[in-house]
Symmetry: C2
Subunit: 365 residues, 2 copies
């Protein structure tokens, strides 16, 4: 039983899907073929239906969520966008990494606002950002910070959207998209990777872009080339969008993982059902953990993640419990970054079953 | 039977390896775990043993050969390397794309030298390049141009290496590494992707870098950071090398494909054996095609690729033969770029069996 928060457990159906992929020659199809485009299109339709992604959002595949950070940083940091300020609100390792990468490349327009792991993002955080009718800002948020198991609530995201109509909001939802019911209208760019809440092997990122953002990009791009003009980069936003509109990618992608994604997204129920289950199980687990005298890393119940939980222990305790768990064939997640030594993380992803959590609870008792 | 020159046929063992990957939980392993590092290390050792890659070369994984173009262009085109000239010799679509990408980003230091598809690269081509003891040039070659089925012979590569001791040679070997016996000492950077001569599903690139190149990069990099310093990009060369030295990657990679690579590279014989077989089969096929009154796209026997062949027909003939082939469950490769309409391409990769070629010949008769 693998409770690592990604790469994590995969759906047990993955085995059959891998065999199907082999038997139906998916492993050999051209990424410019109709068959590939049909698979891509079916994913888009199912994401719209099951995850409520607005129909006018564009779905792009990348190699990872990490690549998405760079695509967004570069697309809205250089050339005609070099006067756009990007404000990064973070309280953990992944939000900070995204900020660090942008700061390293575009130092003059990148601002980091750190908040505490038990602190709720509030409207006054955003009042520091100068608002301007003619020049939008970018607001970067990590909806679910996998490193310290905190989240920004959907309610807060909607408030930010309401209050920052002129700005563009980019959201890293790596460990929540697919597990939580997110309102995609509340941001202009969302991204994730499939080894978390999609229950698939690693090697694929997904990005959803709003029509407003694409429109702004088109209008202000130095070049939004037609087919005749050379693109600067294979993962340049204009090129990614052009190909996504044809249900294609800009280079030979991880076709197998895209196929697996088409299978998993046609297999899972609507996100409202999944999300309710995940939340209920998370709340139950949090209570169970406290009842059994463990400390939780996150004490403020309002900012606790629903998809990843962290138990805080003395470093020796962490080692001890991991060793014991291993004997019972239970893999617990290490801590991350500043919390590497004294926390254990537990993924609560849709592919995990209730029976697995019953066994985990038995073990933790 | 799939003769498309990549994505192409995969080894039939891939089916078992996929099942093994599932059964042994490879799909869920952490990319920082010992298990992952062991897999990575085993690939490096087997590449050294079976493909004769020098032990002091560094092996890096990327998402694709396309990404390798960009990594090399950016690493040796910007910052402290902005005075390094890059000379691109090409006769087809892929060599030109690599050149175009560099030209678009670093126009002042990028030079393209186009040659004919039936022309052999000769020493006098290189005499145009100013040689300089203090400032090396970069020479970019496409050893096997998949788009028009030409190759630069290993003999020529050795000559270029001999004559250009001060320069760095970068070689795109996307559709030949794994099928041809290449002398890796003859260049400083080599790259490929696994859906060609490795017989695997798409989604992984491999790059081999010489110690000379890495040394030059280290000495001249503005920053070759230690762990404490933030890297600019997740696919920055310094970061890739640092992680490769630990048998790790800079981000969550396509672990499944890396596992499949470890299986295929431990399964295949030494490249000298594979290469002889491929060459013999290619020569035989070329003769067969001509004997049956087909035109070959490449008339100069000296520059004909061993791993990809192209038949030239009237556009109607191409359509006709593809339709007929489909009925017999034979997939032939489309033409590419300028040769899209009037050629058919046939992959001659190690994963293709002699029986498949016997059937293809029967069909072509």
């Amino acid at each position: 039983m693998n409770f690592y928060p990604g790469p994590s457990k995969v759906y047990h159906q993955v085995k059959d899907w891998l065999n199907e992929a082999y038997e139906t020659d998916i492993l050999s199809i051209q990424h410019r073929s109709q068959k590939f485009m049909d698979i891509y299109e079916s994913i888009v339709k199912n994401l719209q239906e099951k995850h409520n992604i607005p129909k006018d959002y564009t779905i792009v595949f990348t190699s990872s969520a990490t690549e998405c950070w760079h695509i967004l940083n570069d697309s809205f940091g250089s050339n005609n966008f070099s006067n756009i300020n990007s404000y990064h609100f973070f309280n953990g390792a992944f939000g900070k990494k995204w900020f660090d990468y942008r700061k390293a490349n575009y130092p003059k327009t990148t601002f980091g606002i750190e908040f505490g792991i038990n602190e709720e993002l509030e409207d006054n955080f955003f009042q520091q950002i100068p608002q301007n009718d003619y020049l939008p800002n970018i607001i970067c948020l990590c909806q679910n910070e996998t490193s310290n198991t905190t989240q920004i609530s959907q309610k807060m995201l909607s408030e930010i959207r309401q209050n920052r109509q002129n700005d563009f909001i980019f959201i890293d939802a790596t460990s929540s998209w697919g597990g939580q019911n997110l309102n995609f209208n509340d941001a202009d760019a969302w991204f994730t990777s499939v080894q978390k809440c999609f229950g698939l092997p690693a090697g694929l990122g997904i990005m959803a872009l709003s029509p407003n953002l694409i429109d702004f990009y088109r209008k202000n791009s130095a070049v939004f080339p037609t087919n005749d003009i050379v693109y600067n980069r294979y993962n340049q936003l204009s090129f990614l969008i052009e190909k996504a509109n044809q249900f294609q990618t800009t280079y030979t992608p991880n076709v197998l993982n895209i196929y697996l994604l088409s299978k998993v997204i046609s297999f899972v129920p609507s996100i409202s059902i999944t999300s309710k289950k995940i939340e209920k199980r998370a709340n139950h687990l949090y209570k169970f953990i406290e009842r059994n005298y463990y400390h939780l890393l996150i004490t403020n119940t309002k900012v606790r993640s629903k998809t990843v939980l962290a138990i805080r222990l003395m470093p020796e305790g962490v080692e001890n419990i991991k060793k014991k768990a291993k004997k019972e064939d239970i893999i617990l997640g290490n801590g991350y970054g500043s919390w590497k030594e004294d926390t254990l993380r537990i993924a609560n992803f849709p592919q995990h079953t209730d029976i697995e959590f019953e066994r985990l609870k038995e073990f933790l008792k």
